[in-house]
C-alpha cells in the first residue's frame, strides 16, 4: 500500500473529527498516569465531581507558547464554604503541572486567569478543592497549531 498525500489529508481529517468529541474525565486520567498521580496528591484521593468548576481555554491556540486560560468556581467564598485551590494541568507537556491557584475568603470570587505553554494539541485539566474536601474537575481540549512557513 502506498500512501498518497490525499490519504494523509483524509487521515488528518478523521483524527480531527475524533478529537472534536467531548472528553470524559475518566479517559483523560487513564491516558496520563503522571497527571493522575498529581491529581491524587492534590485531591487526597477524593473522587472528583463534575460541574461547579469552569475551565475556559481557546479551542485553537494560535501559538502554543502563550495560551490564555481561566478558571472559575461557583462558590459563596465564605469562611465556612470556599474554594481552597484550583490546580491546572496540561497532560501533553513534558511535565503536566502548570499552576495551582490558592484562594481565601478574601479573594471574594474563585476566579483566576493566566497564560500557559502547551507543547502540542492536548487536554488541559483543572481540579478544584473546596473547604469541605470535595473536589471538582473540568477538562478542555486545546488544539495547538503550527505556524506558517516558518513553523
Amino acid at each position: 500500500m502506498t500512501v498518497t498525500r490525499r490519504q494523509i489529508l483524509a487521515f488528518g481529517a478523521a483524527t480531527a473529527a475524533v478529537t472534536l468529541v467531548g472528553i470524559p474525565v475518566s479517559k483523560v486520567l487513564a491516558a496520563a498516569p503522571e497527571m493522575d498521580a498529581k491529581i491524587k496528591e492534590f485531591t487526597g484521593g477524593a473522587t472528583p465531581g463534575e460541574g461547579k468548576l469552569t475551565l475556559t481555554a481557546p479551542e485553537i491556540a494560535e501559538n502554543g507558547n502563550t495560551v490564555p486560560i481561566s478558571v472559575s468556581v461557583d462558590s459563596p467564598m465564605t469562611a465556612e464554604d470556599h474554594v481552597v485551590a484550583v490546580m491546572v494541568l496540561a497532560e501533553g507537556n513534558p511535565s503536566p503541572g502548570v499552576a495551582t491557584f490558592h484562594f481565601t475568603p478574601l479573594s471574594g470570587k474563585a476566579e483566576a486567569s493566566t497564560r500557559i505553554r502547551l507543547a502540542k494539541t492536548q487536554n488541559v485539566v483543572a481540579v478544584a478543592r473546596m473547604s469541605d474536601g470535595s473536589v471538582y474537575m473540568a477538562a478542555s481540549e486545546v488544539k495547538v497549531t503550527i505556524g506558517g512557513c516558518g513553523g
Partner: protein, 315 residues
C-alpha cells in the same frame, strides 16, 4: 497504513525545520518532533483553506484605552487592494483581546522599559532623550506614524531605529544600539507608542523617497529563495488564505515592534522581514540594509491610513 510509509513525508517536514535558526525556538520542546506530530494538522489546514469562513478577516473593532483604531481603510491611489487591513483582523479572538487590553498586552513591559530609557542619561554629552525632547507624550506624539523619513545628510531613508541611533551618536555621545538590542526595541516601541491610533503615512516627496519606494516595490514582487516566493505571493496574491495553520494577512507594518506569541517578546520590523525572507529559504539581507530599508518604505506606504498599533500583539 504503516509508520514507515509515512517517512518520506516526515522527511519533508524535517527539511522544513533545518533552516530555522535555533534562536527562534523559544521553548526547548523538540520542535522538529512538534512539526512532525502536527504535520497532519498542517496538511489538514491546507485542506481547509478552501473554506472562506476560515480565511476572511474578522469584522471587529479594536479599541485600546478608549481609542478606536483604524484597522480597515480605503487604500491609497495605485494600491493593489481596495482596502488596507490591519493584521489584527486576521488573528484569533484571544490574540485580539490581548492587544485590546493595554494592561494585558505583554509588550507594554517593553514600552515601560522604553520610558525609563527615555529618562536615562547616557554618553559623553551627559544627556538623556528627555534632556532635549522633554515629555515624550508631547514631543513624540504623532512622530512615529510618519517614518521612514528622508534623511538629507546620509541621503537615505531613516526609520525610527536609525533615527534613535543618529541621535545617540551625534547628540548624546553614546554608542549606537546594535540591531535588535533589547533597549533598541524598547525605546522604538515607546516612541512609536506615542502615536497610538494615529493614521500611518509617509512623505514620498522628500529627497529620493520615490526612488526608494520604486526599489521597494520591485523587491516586493521579486521571487526569491528555494521556495521562489515574493512578498506579494503570500501577502497579496494569497492574502486571507491559510499557509499551513497560519492566516495570511496583508503583511502590514503598523504594529511594529510587535509582541509575537511565538517569540514571547518584542519583534522588530527588520527582524520580521528577515524571518519572512529566511522562510522562503533565501539569503537574508542585513537589518537596515538598502534592500530592507526600501522594503520598509514601500510596505509602510502599503498601510497608509491604518492606525499605529505599536506595540501590537500577533501570533
Amino acid at each position: 497504513m504503516t509508520k514507515s510509509r509515512v517517512n518520506p513525508v516526515r522527511g519533508v517536514g524535517h527539511m522544513g525545520r533545518t533552516i530555522v535558526s535555533k534562536n527562534e525556538i523559544k521553548w526547548g520542546l523538540s520542535v522538529s518532533l512538534f512539526g512532525v506530530g502536527l504535520l497532519s494538522v498542517g496538511l489538514l489546514s491546507v485542506g481547509l483553506s478552501i473554506a472562506p469562513a476560515q480565511a476572511d478577516p474578522v469584522d471587529d473593532t479594536l479599541v485600546i484605552d478608549g481609542k478606536e483604531m483604524i484597522t480597515r481603510t480605503a487604500a491609497p491611489e495605485g494600491h493593489p487592494f481596495k482596502e488596507v487591513l490591519s493584521g489584527w483582523l486576521f488573528r484569533t479572538e484571544e490574540t485580539r483581546a490581548l492587544e485590546a487590553d493595554s494592561f494585558q498586552n505583554p509588550a507594554m513591559l517593553g514600552v515601560d522599559e522604553g520610558a525609563e530609557i527615555w529618562e536615562t542619561v547616557e554618553g559623553t554629552a551627559g544627556k538623556s532623550c528627555a534632556s532635549c525632547h522633554g515629555d515624550a507624550a508631547e514631543s513624540m506624539a504623532g512622530i512615529g506614524a510618519h517614518y521612514p523619513k528622508w534623511d538629507p545628510e546620509t541621503k537615505r531613508p531613516v526609520n525610527m531605529e536609525l533615527k534613535i541611533n543618529q541621535c545617540r551618536e551625534k547628540n548624546m555621545g553614546a554608542e549606537a544600539y546594535k540591531f535588535d538590542a533589547r533597549e533598541q526595541k524598547a525605546l522604538t516601541s515607546f516612541i512609536k507608542y506615542q502615536s497610538l491610533g494615529d493614521p500611518m503615512s509617509i512623505d514620498l516627496s522628500q529627497g529620493d523617497m520615490r526612488a526608494w519606494w520604486d526599489k521597494g516595490k520591485e523587491l516586493y514582487y521579486t521571487r526569491t529563495g528555494q521556495l521562489n516566493l515574493a512578498c506579494g505571493s503570500c501577502h497579496e496574491a494569497s492574502m486571507g488564505k491559510m499557509i499551513r495553520a497560519d492566516h495570511l494577512s496583508q503583511g502590514q507594518v503598523n504594529g511594529f515592534p510587535t509582541y509575537r506569541l511565538k517569540q514571547q517578546g518584542l519583534v522588530s520590523l527588520h527582524n520580521r522581514l528577515r524571518g519572512c525572507i529566511r522562510d522562503t529559504r533565501a539569503e537574508m539581507p542585513k537589518a537596515f540594509s538598502d534592500d530592507l530599508m526600501a522594503i520598509e518604505v514601500y510596505v509602510t506606504w502599503r498601510g497608509t491610513g491604518l492606525s499605529m498599533e505599536t506595540p501590537a500583539v500577533r501570533h
